[in-house]
C-alpha cells in the first residue's frame, strides 16, 4: 500500500459521461490484484473525503481508472487536466481469486466494467465476457476487449441482445452442458440480485465486486460494510474484507 503521487498523463471521455484517467505514479505499486481499488483525492476544496475507484488497468507505474460522472466528486474529477498531480492511496482491498477451478465467466453491468476490466485482461482468451449497458454508444466501454469477443446487451435494444445482461447470461447458462463455471460479477445491486436468483439452484461459484460509500478506504472507520451470513460478525468492511465477496456469503 502506498499513498502515491500520481500525475495525470491522459484524460479521455470514452462515452459521454464516462471518463478514463491515466496517472503516472512516482512511487509505483508493488503488486495489483484485479478487483482492488484506489482512494483518489479530488483536487478541490469542495470535496472533503477521498473517492474510491476500481483499478481499471495497471502496468509499470501507469494506473488507469474508468468512472461515470454521478455526483460532485466525479464531476470535479472529470475536470482535472493533464499534468495535474493527485494523491492516490492503493492498492486497497481484497481482489478476485484467480486460482479457482471452473470456466471463467465475467458479467459486468454499466460502469461495473471498471471493476472487472483488469481481471478480463488477466484471464485472457479463455474467458466469456458478458457486458450489459444502456445503449449502443456505451459498447465503446469494451472496445479494447474485442479479442475476447464480448457478448453485449443493451437495455434499449440498439445493439446486441435486447434486454439486461442477466437475461443474456441466463440464455448462455441454459445452453451449457456442463456446469463447471466460475462467475465474476460487478454491477448495480439489482444485477447482483438477479444473478443470485439465476444461480441459486446450483449455487454456482460466484465472486462479486461490491460498491459502497467509503471514508478511509483502508479499514480504519468501519463506514463501508456489507452484511454477510457470518453470525459472529455480520458486517464486513467492503474496503478491507472486500470489495470482492463470495456471492453466497453476502446478504442481499
Amino acid at each position: 500500500m502506498e499513498d502515491a503521487i500520481g500525475t495525470v498523463i491522459e484524460k479521455r471521455e470514452v462515452v459521454k459521461g464516462f471518463f478514463l484517467l491515466k496517472f503516472h505514479l512516482i512511487t509505483p505499486f508493488s503488486e495489483v490484484i484485479p478487483g482492488q481499488f484506489v482512494m483518489v483525492k479530488v483536487p478541490s476544496k469542495e470535496v472533503f473525503l477521498r473517492r474510491p475507484f476500481s483499478i481499471y488497468e495497471y502496468e509499470n507505474g501507469i494506473l488507469g481508472i474508468l468512472f461515470k460522472v454521478v455526483g460532485k466528486g466525479t464531476k470535479l474529477l472529470s475536470a482535472v487536466e493533464e499534468g495535474e498531480v493527485l494523491s492516490i492511496l492503493g492498492p486497497l482491498g481484497r481482489g478476485f481469486s484467480l486460482d479457482s477451478k471452473g470456466r471463467p465467466v465475467i458479467v459486468a453491468g454499466g460502469i461495473g466494467i471498471a471493476g472487472v476490466h483488469l481481471l478480463a485482461k488477466k484471464l485472457g482468451e479463455g474467458v466469456s465476457l458478458f457486458f450489459g449497458c444502456a445503449n449502443i454508444a456505451e459498447k465503446a466501454l469494451v472496445s479494447d476487449m474485442v479479442h475476447l469477443r464480448p457478448s453485449i446487451s443493451t437495455l434499449d435494444g440498439s445493439f446486441g441482445f435486447s434486454g439486461n445482461v442477466v437475461e443474456m447470461l441466463k440464455n448462455y447458462i441454459e445452453e451449457q452442458t456442463s456446469y463447471d463455471l466460475k462467475i465474476y460479477a460487478c454491477g448495480p445491486e439489482g444485477m447482483i440480485r438477479a444473478i443470485k436468483d439465476l444461480l441459486i439452484h446450483d449455487r454456482t461459484p460466484c465472486e462479486v465486486l461490491i460498491e459502497e460509500r467509503m471514508a478511509c478506504g483502508m479499514g480504519l472507520c468501519y463506514g463501508c460494510v456489507k452484511k454477510t451470513y457470518d453470525v459472529r460478525e455480520p458486517f464486513k468492511r467492503v474496503c478491507k474484507e472486500g470489495p470482492v465477496f463470495d456471492l453466497w456469503q453476502i446478504s442481499l
Binding site: M1, D3, K41, V47, F48, L49, R50, S87, L89, E212, R213, M214, A215, C216, G217, M218, G219, L220, C221, Y222, G223, C224, V225, K226, K227, R232, E233, P234, F235, K240
Partner: protein
Amino acid sequence: MADISLNLFGRKLKNPVMNASGTLGYGREIEPLWRVSEMGVYVSKGLSLKPHHGNPTPRVWEVSSGMLNSIGLQNIGIDRFLEEYLPYFSETKTPVIINFFGFTVEEYVGCAERIKDDENIFALEMNLSCPNIKEGGIGFGKDPNMVFNLIKAVKSVTTKPIFAKLSPEVKNIVEIAKSAYEAGSDGLTLINTMPGVAVDIRKGVIPIKGGLSGPAIKPVALKAVYECRKAVPIPILGTGGIMSLEDALSFFMAGAWAIQVGTATFVDPYTIPRIIDGLKGYLEHHGFSSVSEITGITE
C-alpha cells in the same frame, strides 16, 4: 533541544498525539503506512461488554468541511480485544487508552471490571454519548447527575485513570465537566462528534443521522477545551477537526494537554506522523523546550 514527550499520571508518553477513538480501526490497519507505536498513545475503537454488530449502511456521509458517521459502535467486545489485540500493543510498547461505552450503568461497570491491570493500558476513556436505556433513553452525558453517578460507579471498580469523553450536544458543557471532575474523573476528552442529519433532496429523505466530525466542529471543540480548562484542574485531551499542525497548536494553546486526530486520517493517512514531526520542529523553531510551555497560554 525540544522535547515533545508528555508526563501524564506518572507516565512518560513519547508525544502528546493520539488517534481519536474509532478512526484507526483496531490499530494495525494503518501499519502498511506507519507504525502505531509512533504515537504517544493508541486509543482503541469503542468497546463494550458484549459485541455490537453496528448499523446498516449508509454509515458515512460527506458534508461541507466534514462528515457524518453512523457506524453504530460496531465492535468485537472487550474480551476479544484484550485477548486478540492488546498483546500487539504490549509487544510494540504502545500505551493504550481503552475507549468503552454501555447502555446501562451496569454495562459500563461490567466493561471496566474486565479491563485487567495490564501495565500497557494507560487509561480508560468513557464515551458518555450513549443513551441510558433504563432512564428513558436520555444520553448519559446530557445530565450532570447521571454523569456523576456513572463515573463514580466506574471509578469504584478500576484503578486506571479515566478520561470522560463529553458530547457537545449539552446545555452547558462546563457544568458536565465539573460533574465529571467531582465524581473523580482524572481527565476529559473534548469533544465527541456533534449530532446531525443530511437530506437527500433527490429522494426527499434523510439518509443518515449521525455524528458530525471534521473541520466543521473545530471551533466548537476549541471553545469546550478553552472553557473547561478554566473550570476544572484536570488534563484535557483535545479533539475535533484537527487536520494540521496549526490546528493541533490551537488546541494546545486553548488548553489541551494532548490531542487526538480523527477524521483527518481518512483524508490524509499520514496526518498523525506529520503532526508529530511538525510539533517538534515548531517548538525548536520558537524556542520552547516542551509542549507544556504552550498549553493553555491563551488568556
